[in-house]
């Protein structure tokens, strides 16, 4: 634990400076972040870590696009390219998207439910540092894997580690071990973090904050954390089995010794598909907070939104094999998982309709958070529909493992999740740092990134339809893929420029931004009641919560929500 030796009650953050710790200097600030068990600082740490890894894995993506910009490219060697897409995928999922979800939950959940901190503050720090060191372990493979063996490098087995490519016959040297052990470490961090957040939500709500009055963001986080607790352990188990196989002679996935490559696929995807919802549900949560506030209406159909989220959580347990339609399942298996997959589009559709109905009839303020949230919603509509195409098994036989799939899941992970995260930044940054993000820089960020996103990923749908498989480091001219890949690579530059503007905005606004005040958006959830940034103890006093929009009730005593619930 971060500070296992101290006997101070860390639930209270009114700690005196530790011996050797300076207050008010950069060193002091860094020391404070390392020692901290405060959920807000840990939230910032999670998100800051995610941004650093986002930039690193983003540079890898730029190299990938540079290599594929022209046919017969020679920017990187095939071996380098293969490790680039492996590390890019792994890092973006496990050390960017998941920490973003955990960071958002860490910062917002206690504030939204009116709690002083998480249920287990030290466990919270433990979770973060495990995740962080897991990421470091993966990156260390660039240095460590060539090590004693003199062979290998960063792992090059694809982010789903296609067994038996991971067996010792095909993955010489320790690079694959870096992949599996770093995921194991970070996986434990995620599960402990999820337990912590679940306990906080169920046991530390303020007076009157019943489950039926939880902000939707918190409900989405409940579902997310449930999925983490249930479905990360299969992945951790698979990593342990892989390590046993590689070092102690077990034979689970090694086909040369009678193991099964399909078994690995099942293990990976029984985690891997719920993982998609682990990433997407917090993004849904952000949309469910931002869209009502900027449409000036309560969310349409709150109970249906909650039911749909929980239903998505449950159905997502039974759809994993739709990633395996092409492995050669029986017709029954294909149809069964096809049915489950298409069924999940119903609650997802309900969510989209509810957001639509929230906007409809409102008075939409097109501020930056809303612009990002709306774009995320629109792009998610497209991502959902290409998902339906992939869910129709025969169509999937053509589309799976092609660039169409690449386009589809980047539409989900960038088009929905990253855009929702940007909405999160523009909406809650004033709460976290007390200053507004700059509008002009934000405008540049939005347009550069949105144009870049569409230039990059829209053409990939067509490349996939024209038969371009994923994970190829080169292609011959004449296959009809040149133009689409070229446009795609140009788009990557736009995205990179957008991110530069975003990071500049984060840094510039922290010192020079307009002072925000407690409640710059005229919002309704509890976190806007306290100061910006909130004090260590979060709230001085809290009203009894009587509806889903406690601040609405305070601002409109003549027309409170609780009359209608």
């Amino acid at each position: 634990m971060a500070n296992g030796t101290t006997t101070v009650d860390v639930g209270e953050e009114q700690l005196p400076a530790r011996p050797g710790q300076e207050r008010g200097t950069l060193t002091g600030w860094i020391q404070d972040l390392i020692y901290t068990v405060d959920h807000k600082k840990l939230g910032i740490l999670y998100i800051g870590m995610a941004l650093v890894f986002l930039v690193l894995a983003g540079i890898m993506a730029l190299l990938i696009r540079a290599q594929l910009a022209f046919p017969d490219g020679h920017v990187v060697s095939p071996q380098t390219f293969n490790s680039l897409f492996t590390v890019h995928g792994t890092v973006m999922i496990f050390w960017v998207a998941m920490p973003l979800a955990f960071g958002m939950a860490n910062y917002l959940v206690p504030l939204m439910i009116g709690a002083r901190d998480m249920a287990f503050p030290r466990l919270n720090a433990f979770s973060f540092w495990l995740t962080f060191f897991g990421g470091c372990l993966l990156f260390f493979s660039y240095v460590g894997a060539p090590g004693l063996y003199g062979s290998g490098g960063a792992p090059a087995v694809a982010w789903m580690a296609l067994a038996p490519l991971t067996s010792r016959a095909f993955s010489v040297g320790p690079s694959t071990d870096y992949w599996s052990l770093s995921l194991l470490v970070a996986g434990i961090g995620s599960v402990t973090g999820a337990i912590n957040i679940m306990v906080t939500i169920f046991c530390y709500r303020t007076k009157g904050m019943t489950l039926s009055r939880l902000p939707l963001f918190v409900w989405m986080i409940v579902t997310t954390m449930f999925l983490v607790i249930v479905f990360l352990p299969p992945l951790s188990a698979a990593q342990i089995m892989l390590t046993l196989e590689r070092y102690l002679g077990a034979k689970y996935f090694d086909t040369q010794a009678g193991g099964s490559a399909i078994l690995w696929q099942h293990f990976f995807w029984i985690f891997g598909h719920p993982e998609v919802y682990i990433l997407a549900l917090p993004a849904f949560g952000v949309l469910s907070e931002v869209i009502p506030v900027f449409s000036r209406k309560p969310i349409f159909g709150y109970p249906m939104m909650v039911a749909a989220s929980v239903l998505i959580g449950f159905i997502s347990a039974g759809v994993w094999a739709h990633h395996m339609f092409t492995v050669g399942m029986t017709s029954f298996g294909v149809t069964f998982f096809g049915v489950a997959t298409l069924a999940i589009s119903v609650p997802t559709g309900i969510k989209i309709f509810n957001w639509l109905a929230t906007i409809y009839g409102g008075k939409v303020r097109l501020e930056l958070p809303m612009v990002f949230a709306f774009t995320a919603l629109f792009q998610f509509l497209i991502a959902g529909l290409t998902g339906v195409m992939l869910g129709v098994a025969p169509f999937d036989w053509q589309l799976n493992d092609s660039y169409f799939v690449i386009a589809h899941f980047h539409y989900v992970i960038v088009g929905l999740i990253l855009f929702a995260v940007f909405a999160f930044f523009y909406y809650w940054y004033p709460k976290v740092f007390g200053r507004m993000l700059d509008k002009k820089l934000g405008f540049w960020h939005f347009w550069l990134f949105t144009i870049g996103f569409h230039l990059t990923f829209d053409p990939q749908h067509i490349a996939g339809i024209l038969g371009m498989p994923r994970r190829i480091y080169t292609y011959h001219p004449g296959r009809g893929w040149e133009l689409w890949n070229f446009i795609s690579s140009i788009g990557a530059i736009f995205q990179a420029l957008g991110i530069i503007f975003f990071v500049l905005n984060l840094i510039w606004s922290a010192r020079k931004g307009k002072v925000a005040g407690d409640d710059p958006w005229d919002a309704w959830t509890l976190e806007w009641m306290t100061t910006s940034p909130p004090p260590d103890y979060n709230f001085e006093k809290l009203p009894e919560v009587r509806s889903r929009r406690p601040l609405w009730d305070l601002k409109h005593p003549d027309d409170p929500d609780w009359k209608f619930e």
């Binding site: 095939p78 071996q79 293969n82 296609l162 067994a163 038996p164 490519l165 095909f170 086909t255 040369q256 490559a261 449409s295 000036r296 309560p298 159909g301 249906m304 092409t326 492995v327 050669g328 294909v334 149809t335 049915v339 298409l342 119903v346 309900i350 639509l356 109905a357 906007i359 409809y360 009839g361 409102g362 008075k363 939409v364 709306f374 629109f378 509509l381 497209i382 529909l385 339906v388 195409m389 869910g391 129709v392 025969p394 999937d396 053509q398 589309l399 493992d401 092609s402 067509i462 339809i465 024209l466 038969g467 498989p469 994923r470 190829i472 480091y473 080169t474 004449g478 296959r479 619930e565």
Partner: protein
């Protein structure tokens, strides 16, 4: 080529195998589109034009002229083989349903955000009327998606059943495809022929006399994927897990495909070439593959170099006892192939010389090592290989 005497054999417009619910839905959608086109409203026209534009941006290959035509552009919506056509029917319908949903919901989203945006004249102290929800409306938009899902499920089940069949009639050609890192071994058990990388199959001109090719997919090492989009969807090639897949091409040509599952350094250059030729040409090719190579005394030195450099440890050449390896492609009729290294380069003198000098130049990471041959050895072996017709 004799191809010119045959019709192009594009029978996919025949509504054979497109009965039942698919046909019914097609009629329904055509009907809706007809109504749309009848409307003079400009907005409708715009939507239709956008739809047509999307379809038009997808390049389509031109109809076959002969067996030499390389079908490099493999559009999944331009199938030329029975199972791919079955998949295409489902795919097009799904695409259409999704496009309609996108236009309706996307249009509503854009409409509401534009229509209900705050105007500069608005009084900011006034909030819009607070609507909390409506069970009737929730129900109304839950039922249509459920109905669409049911339709898609039925179509899925039907097409899965139609494509997931195993052919065993006497007209069926059995073909065993074995994935290796990073090339394809091909066995025609009916003919006793072993080849590599370039699949020769006869065309099925008429649906009444089909000659399906029943492929058995096996892997010698890791997972690979077999995909030629115009012939069929993809299927994994998994060690210890035999998969079955069939094709029934209706047009002549050379179809290009790829390994679709990442299998290591040279996954990108594990290419597939399916040569669909007239039945007579196919029989001729089979006869050529069955023949023993003619021993040419003028290249005896090259043959010796081939054996002395242990090439035979990995490669097999019929009639040469010292060349009986199974790790690399069979070279008995090496010169009958159009490409080298599983499609990485054209099979000509220049590329072959480069390959013999160091295979890692053309295909870095492939399993064949640099044999460190000098110029003279390369020339001799090259001359010998060129006699393996």
């Amino acid at each position: 080529m004799k191809a010119a005497h045959h019709p192009a054999g594009r029978d996919r417009d025949v509504i054979e195998g497109t009965s039942g619910i698919v046909l019914w839905l097609k009629c329904l959608i055509l009907f809706i589109l007809r109504i749309c086109s009848a409307l003079k409203d400009r907005r409708e026209k715009l939507i239709r034009r956008a739809f047509l534009l999307v379809i038009a941006t997808l390049p389509r290959t031109v109809a076959a002229q002969g067996a030499e035509q390389v079908r490099a552009i493999q559009n999944i919506f331009d199938p030329l083989s029975k199972p791919a056509e079955l998949i295409n029917d489902t795919a097009r319908l799904t695409l259409l349903v999704c496009l309609i949903i996108f236009l309706v919901v996307g249009g509503l989203l854009l409409y509401s955000v534009v229509r209900y945006r705050r105007k500069s004249t608005d009084d900011d102290t006034m909030e819009p009327s607070q609507v909390y929800g409506s069970n009737a409306i929730e129900l109304a938009w839950t039922i249509p998606p459920i109905l669409i899902v049911i339709v898609l499920v039925l179509i899925t089940a039907r097409t899965v059943g139609e494509v997931n069949v195993i052919h065993s009639s006497k007209d069926t050609i059995q073909l065993r495809v074995i994935g290796h890192r990073f090339w394809w071994e091909l066995q025609y058990p009916d003919y006793g022929v072993t080849a590599a990388n370039e699949i020769h199959v006869p065309v099925s001109y008429l649906p009444s006399t089909p000659r399906p090719i029943q492929m058995t997919l096996d892997s010698a090492d890791v997972v690979h994927g077999f995909w030629v989009p115009q012939l069929n969807g993809k299927l994994w090639v998994v060690p210890n897990h035999r998969n079955m897949m069939w094709i029934q091409p209706s047009s002549l040509g050379i179809y290009l495909g790829n390994c679709t599952v990442y299998c290591g350094d040279q996954h990108a250059n594990m290419l597939i070439r399916v040569i669909v030729e007239p039945p007579e040409d196919f029989e001729k090719w089979i006869a050529g593959q069955k023949a023993q190579p003619v021993a040419d005394p003028s290249v005896e030195d090259g043959r010796k170099e081939f054996i002395e450099n242990s090439c035979g440890t990995c490669h097999h050449i019929a009639g040469t006892p010292a060349a009986n390896g199974v790790f690399g492609p069979d070279l008995t009729h090496f010169m009958s192939r159009q490409t080298l290294g599983s499609g990485v380069a054209v099979n000509n003198d220049e590329n072959l010389r480069s390959w013999l000098r160091d295979p890692q130049v053309l295909k870095p990471g492939c399993r064949m090592p640099d044999m460190k041959l000098d110029d003279k050895e390369v020339d001799l072996i090259l001359a010998y290989l060129k006699t393996l017709k």
